[in-house]
């Protein structure tokens, strides 16, 4: 009763860490069990709060990497070496430890299969996290919307979910993954090796005449360059949704 009356309000909850997945040397996924989790939509995030012994608190937002799955919520965290929160989450938090969080949060940078498409997703670095929740929702039985995902990384060893991306069967899944590596490329790489630009988007994104829904997430400079180029290519600004992670991408 009380809970129903308070729906919509955001309360801090205590989650249990049930699994950790190493994604790259700097990035780890944390699989959490949140007892009263109400479910979420791909693209949403949680706020995480750490409290020090002296009462000092630090809060950060982390995108949810997976579609709704009961009380399970997976976030993916990039370690920012001089950060206040991410080194603890990536290095210290162990299975069985508790973590305080609130969510789900976000009503704009969200997509679910019933929203339709075609869908174009552009990720810079760890900006892939909320977009991966969309891709996983789509592949996990979410309709037939055609999806193209463009992932920009500095080098192959910085690609999160790399194994999973490589296993996506485009013909079967209707989801196509295109990668660009801006600093170091895999041996024998014949694909893109530069930052995302208008010419690349002209090749990779659905044409503006298809009226695609576009989601762009990553460091601020990446997001603004991609969104600007999409508008120059004729995409409706209202069809382009953006989420900026700031200068560090985390």
């Amino acid at each position: 009763m009380a809970r129903a009356a308070l729906r919509g309000r955001l309360t801090w909850q205590v989650a249990d860490l049930v699994d950790r997945i190493d994604e790259t040397a700097q990035v780890r996924s944390l699989v959490l069990d949140v007892p009263d989790w109400p479910g979420h939509r791909p693209g949403q995030h949680v706020d995480v709060r750490l409290t020090a012994d002296d009462g000092y608190q630090a809060e950060r937002s982390y995108s949810i990497a997976t579609p709704a799955d009961g009380t399970r919520v997976t976030i993916t965290v990039e370690r920012i070496d001089d950060g206040e929160v991410s080194p603890y989450l990536v290095d210290e938090l162990g299975v069985g430890d508790k973590l305080e969080l609130r969510g789900p949060i976000g009503g704009y940078f969200v997509w679910q299969p019933s929203d339709g498409g075609p869908l174009f997703l552009a990720a810079g670095g760890s900006g892939l996290v909320p977009l991966m929740a969309m891709v996983r929702a789509r592949i996990g039985g979410g309709g037939h919307v055609p999806v193209r995902l463009l992932v920009s990384s500095r080098s192959p060893d910085e690609v999160i979910y790399g194994g999973e991306l490589g296993m996506i069967d485009t013909d079967q899944a209707g989801v196509e993954v295109i990668q660009t590596f801006t600093r170091a490329q895999p041996l024998g790489w014949s694909g893109y090796r530069r930052r995302v630009d208008r010419e690349m988007l002209d090749d990779v994104a659905w044409p503006a005449s298809d009226n695609p829904r576009c989601y762009v997430c990553g460091p601020t400079g990446f997001v603004e360059a991609v969104a600007t180029a999409l508008v120059e290519l004729g995409h409706e600004p209202g069809n382009i949704r953006t989420e900026r992670f700031g200068p560090t991408g985390g």
Partner: protein, 89 residues
Amino acid sequence: MPSDNHVDGNAMGGLLMDAFGREMTDARGCCASCGSEHVMAELIVYRSGPGDVLRCPSCSTVLMVATPLPSGPRIYFSRLLWLAPKERA
């Protein structure tokens, strides 16, 4: 020149939900300076100070400043003409 050290209104979702009791990143607002309308998620947000400064993406005018205080969130409205939460299904 645009700087790189800002984020956007998506990051304000938790604080705004705390203040308004509902999801607000898709709420629409109007800039009192230039008259352009944007959803909260599209606002440019500078987080380096004690308060988060939310600026109009069209003209950079400060629309709101949001501060989490021990007593709860406090939002200062400066040049936000109106704010309209999205109708829920």
